[in-house]
């Protein structure tokens, strides 16, 4: 087995060419790409973008959205994390395939990634972070409903969303792996072990995986950075209630 892995790794090194990732240290969309490359033992150069001061390189490689992540393979750029993940899977199918073989199961993975990335499905979690009052209460309820859906309909009894191994949908759900920091800052817990035992177990397993463990944003840095971010939003928000 070790011999086979070594052969595959060499194959990937030959196929690799030049791989660059433009990302941001705390962005779950950028991390998805890094995790995928890590799982497939593809070496890449990581370029951290300051999103308040975007590089010329980023503007050149993603002129339409000017956003991270961008994967650049042999000088050719690809934007949109979900699209990048599919490209990575096609270019380096082994080791660690990220999609099931069966076309129907693949359709289900694509459906759920599309679902959870939808603006309307992300919004409650953002409002949970920076909202106040009634708006916040509503967001808590909506977020819990989504988490219930993910726990019961999507994860079910499986260890990972991908089954026995981490798959593309696990990477897309990776934001949950450090959602605890957001809860710490807001001082409200919604993803608790009692209400969502399976998601809670998934988070533990996901975070423990060697590739993921080595590519998670630093807790203290997140705490400081996101606390500041939240304070800025609350200061400028027209909806802020004076305490």
């Amino acid at each position: 087995m070790a011999g086979k892995q070594k052969h595959t790794r060499t194959k990937n090194q030959l196929k690799m060419g030049e791989v660059k990732v433009l990302g941001s240290w705390s962005s779950p969309y950028g991390l998805r790409v890094q995790w995928a490359l890590g799982l497939k033992s593809v070496e890449y150069e990581y370029i951290d973008e300051d999103l308040l001061n975007k590089s010329q390189m980023l503007l050149k490689y993603n002129p339409v959205h000017k956003k991270i992540p961008v994967l650049v393979h042999n000088g050719k750029p690809i934007a949109e994390s979900a699209v990048i993940l599919e490209y990575i899977e096609e270019t380096w199918p082994q080791p660690h395939p990220l999609l099931p073989k069966d076309p129907y199961e693949r359709a289900m993975v694509r459906f759920w990634i599309n679902f959870l990335d939808n603006k309307d499905k992300v919004a409650p979690f953002i409002t949970f972070f920076i909202g106040v009052g009634e708006e916040h209460k509503k967001a808590v309820n909506e977020a819990k409903e989504l988490l219930k859906l993910y726990e019961e309909q999507v994860l079910g009894e499986k260890k990972y969303f991908g089954g026995e191994e981490i798959g593309m949908l696990d990477l897309a759900m990776g934001w949950m792996a450090y959602f605890g920091v957001i809860e710490e800052i807001v001082d409200v817990k919604i993803l608790d072990a009692e209400t969502f035992p399976r998601l809670h177990a998934w988070i533990q397993n996901f975070r423990a995986h060697p590739v993921i463990k080595n590519n998670l944003p630093d807790h203290d840095r997140l705490l400081q950075n996101y606390t500041e971010k939240r304070q800025r939003f609350l200061a400028y928000s027209p909806h802020t209630e004076n305490a």
Binding site: I78, E86, E90, Y104, A107
Partner: protein, 223 residues
């Protein structure tokens, strides 16, 4: 031979995307028209979470979301491929498909918003048209798919056919053809493709329906 069923609604661009894909590949299917104000138990059984059309049912298994359906169709029936074979070109195609998919729900609001909200929708339309003109339709190709239409052309169908409908319903002009020559050419080319031309909903019928719907929405808002 496995049965393919498609649950749809006569005016939905998302449904037409699937119809065109099935016809381009010569796949026979059973079409079930849904009254969106009175959804059938069968639709609700197949799509309990979203209760939306289109839903494709193949071998008794339901698939939802038009782009997910199109990719599934392309994988199961590879004839007349809807995506490029080369992985990089495929990634570029998927980028533009996602771009169109993200814009579609917003731009559809043109006819049922007013004032500032409507202005914001107009801005989204113009951004989309500019991106198509400046970035997507490079190289003077006839279609996004080259000489034949592909999934990207299909993804931008709202621009080709439904934009005019929304403009008529809203009484507002957004698209100025002389400002977007490449997009204008593409629209002509796309609507000339026989399978598209022969499978488009009647614009007058949609405008009449949307005007009625808009009136209902405004009435319920003012009550």
């Amino acid at each position: 031979m496995a049965v393919v069923k498609l649950f749809g609604a006569w005016l939905s661009p998302y449904v037409y995307k699937v119809i065109w894909a099935l016809k381009l590949k010569g796949i026979p299917y059973e079409y079930i028209e849904e009254d969106l104000s009175n959804k059938s138990p069968l639709l609700l059984q197949y799509n309990p979470i979203h209760k939306k059309v289109p839903v494709l049912v193949h071998d008794g298994k339901p698939i939802y979301e038009s782009t997910v359906i199109l990719r599934y169709i392309d994988e199961i029936w590879p004839q007349n491929p809807l995506l490029p074979a080369n992985p990089y070109d495929r990634a570029v195609a998927l980028f533009w498909i996602k771009f169109a998919d993200d814009k579609n729900p917003i731009i559809a609001k043109l006819y049922r918003t007013e004032g500032e909200e409507q202005q914001a929708v107009v801005k989204e339309w113009l951004e989309m048209l500019e991106a198509m003109e400046e970035h997507a339709l490079i190289g003077g190709k006839k279609f996004f798919g080259g000489d034949e239409i592909n999934m990207v052309d299909i993804a931008f169908c709202m621009v080709a056919h439904w934009l005019g409908v929304f403009e008529d319903t809203a009484g507002l002009k957004v698209f100025e053809p002389h400002k977007f020559p490449q997009v204008s050419s593409w629209i002509q080319n796309f609507k000339s493709v026989p399978i598209i031309k022969d499978n488009l909903p009647d614009t007058d019928k949609i405008v009449a329906y949307l005007k009625r719907r808009k009136e209902m929405l405004l009435t319920s808002k003012s009550n």
